[in-house]
């Protein structure tokens, strides 16, 4: 807080002592930071463009804002948002659980496990998600029954595929298995980013293997994993919209159903857009705090939260005001002091 223009002027001393008189004069001058006129121009233009865009958005009746507000919290829409969230959660949870297993397989010394993990990632990354979803949706056509038992031997339980894998399960399964391929690579990148010496130190201390991974490896890998994982989660929130082809009542599908009935296409698309925006905003904020949590120990000073930043700025303004006031008072006192004798 003490670092700003004014105190620095007091410390400033001119080079060379020959002309001490004019030097001491320079030392008392006020420091003015360089001006950036083009930065102001660019900022001004941006503000005007933004205002124009907002104006166009608000004044054009084609957006039908009253319809938007009417449907934004419509019960069917809210339920559809619920389904979207459910699909996202299932996709991410199962995706990351399976992805972590795949990453560990890929890093295991066994060539068979390595090859399997590589093959999985290859297959599920290569086939378009929409195709994968349709395969799961039509699983019953491929395998009429699913049974549990000894491999290639007798079976103890048998289910009709249609009963076991309904459309919602098929969608969650499809999203999760596809997601797992990406998650595997993200987790693997995280593991690779941790210094080999960390596991060696853990091994030298006799820390059990599972705990080495959970307590030493994962928390450090998280620093690398979280930003990419955030991308994936946000991607999946929107990605769930592809399951509309399976007629699952998630947000995008439901919006289409409604506008097919009432013809308010743009307004309802806007409703969906607003909800997606809202969900990703919440996730982005959550990501910020999760990242901060895993940064402990890794950076010397944690970056301030937005709230801390606001408070710091307020405190600085306050300090500046107080300093100015005391400067003024001192100046007044000096002037009156000079005049007095």
């Amino acid at each position: 807080m003490t670092v700003d223009g004014k105190p620095a002027t007091r410390g400033f001393s001119p080079i060379g002592t020959a002309d001490a008189e004019p030097g001491s004069e320079v030392a008392s001058l006020r420091v003015v930071p360089a001006r950036h006129p083009w930065r102001w121009v660019a900022s001004g233009v941006t503000v005007v463009l933004l205002a124009m865009a907002l104006h166009a958005l608000v004044t054009n009746p084609a957006w039908e804002w009253h319809v938007v507000s009417q449907y934004l919290f419509y019960e069917t829409i809210l339920r559809a948002v619920g389904v979207t969230l459910q699909l996202t959660a299932l996709g991410i949870l199962i995706g990351f659980a399976l992805g972590t297993v795949l990453a560990l397989m890929r890093l295991s010394p066994s060539p068979l496990l390595q090859a399997f993990a590589w093959g999985y990632v290859w297959l599920f990354r290569s086939v378009p998600l929409i195709l994968q979803l349709l395969f799961w949706f039509n699983l019953a056509l491929l395998y009429d029954r699913i049974s549990l038992g000894i491999p290639f031997g007798p079976s103890f339980w048998e289910f009709r595929t249609q009963d076991l894998v309904g459309p919602l399960t098929a969608a969650a399964l499809g999203l999760a298995l596809h997601q797992a391929a990406y998650c595997a690579e993200i987790v693997r990148a995280g593991f690779l980013s941790v210094d080999q010496g960390q596991l060696e130190a853990a091994a030298a201390l006799g820390i059990p293997r599972r705990r080495q991974i959970r307590r030493i490896l994962l928390p450090q890998a998280m620093r690398t994993i979280i930003p990419t994982a955030g991308n994936e989660i946000i991607g999946l929130v929107k990605g769930t919209s592809v399951v509309y082809i399976m007629a699952i009542p998630e947000l995008f599908y439901q919006v289409q159903v409604i506008y097919a009935r009432n013809g308010r296409v743009i307004a309802l698309l806007l409703v969906a857009a607003i909800w997606y925006l809202l969900l990703t905003t919440v996730l982005s904020i959550a990501q910020f705090y999760v990242e901060r949590y895993y940064a402990r120990g890794a950076v010397r000073m944690l970056p301030p939260t937005p709230w801390q930043r606001v408070r710091a700025a307020a405190a600085q303004l306050d300090a500046e005001r107080r300093r100015r006031r005391s400067d003024r008072q001192r100046l007044d006192a000096e002037l009156t002091g000079k005049e007095a004798p």
Binding site: A201, A204, L205, G206, I216, Y294
Partner: protein, 255 residues
């Protein structure tokens, strides 16, 4: 001829692919003895140290600590490698201090020291914490207990690493060039801690280039070159009157 050794190394061979790093090393270390291993880089001294706690697998030979075979068990005419869990249990008797400290950066100094006793020895956390605070005090860092490693200097980090190794109450502590990654002015504080350990009767095997430390603290100096022990003996003998040409040549370079 003497009582049983705390550390007994017998005929160990180790190769990385075609490169023979250790070519038959024998070494006995008594309880409470301080052994300093000297040698040019690439001589195999680090590998020797890492073999002692089975961070490296051996091709031949064995290591015993307090009579227990490390990393293997004898079954008939063979040495069978132990399960990982068994090796991890054995390592709790062997402290290891790394050149690059390898502190866990996401844990505070205190948490670093508490981790192994809780995780590997299943000590109650309270008890482990009390012990850890005493150890941090002993290495002169009681005021840094809650600091993360990145906020500590190299010398402080290495002292925490020493406290972490001691927390398991090991039978022997291995030091792999503990001061090589430090700024010159920080070397002294780490050596002071090690000197203190030696005075307290800790069995230590130290790979280092600090000849002064070897002269002052070591009971035995071992000179390793090309995967073999060239000569060993009290510091006064090996450092001041080396018998072997290779020892002389090495000392001439580092002294």
């Amino acid at each position: 001829m003497t009582t049983t050794a705390m550390v007994e190394i017998k005929g160990i061979h180790k190769s990385f692919g075609p490169v023979d790093v250790l070519r038959g090393v024998d070494l006995r270390v008594r309880a409470g003895e301080v052994v300093v291993i000297l040698g040019p880089s690439g001589s195999g001294k680090s590998t020797l140290l890492r073999s002692i706690n089975h961070l490296e697998r051996l091709n031949r030979g064995y290591v015993r600590i307090d009579g227990e075979l490390i990393g293997y068990r004898r079954s008939g005419g063979r040495l069978r490698e132990l399960k990982e869990r068994e090796v991890l249990r054995q390592r709790t008797h062997i402290g290891f201090v790394f050149q690059n400290f390898n502190l866990f950066p996401h844990l505070t100094a205190l948490e670093n020291v508490v981790e192994a006793p809780v995780a590997a020895q299943r000590k109650p956390r309270r008890e482990a914490t009390e012990k850890a605070l005493l150890l941090l005090e002993r290495v002169g860092l009681s005021d840094k207990a809650n600091a993360y490693p990145r906020r500590l200097s190299g010398g402080q980090q290495q002292r925490v690493a020493i406290a972490r190794a001691l927390a398991l109450e090991p039978k022997v502590v291995l030091f792999d060039e503990p001061t090589s990654a430090l700024d010159p002015e920080l070397v002294g504080e780490v050596l002071d801690v090690m000197r203190d350990l030696a005075l307290r009767g800790t069995t230590m095997i130290v790979v280092t280039h600090e000849i002064g430390f070897a002269r002052e603290v070591a009971d035995t100096v071992v000179f390793v070159d090309d995967g073999l022990i060239v000569e060993q003996g009290p510091p006064a003998q090996v450092l001041d009157h080396p018998r072997h040409e290779r020892t002389k040549a090495f000392l001439a370079k580092v002294l």
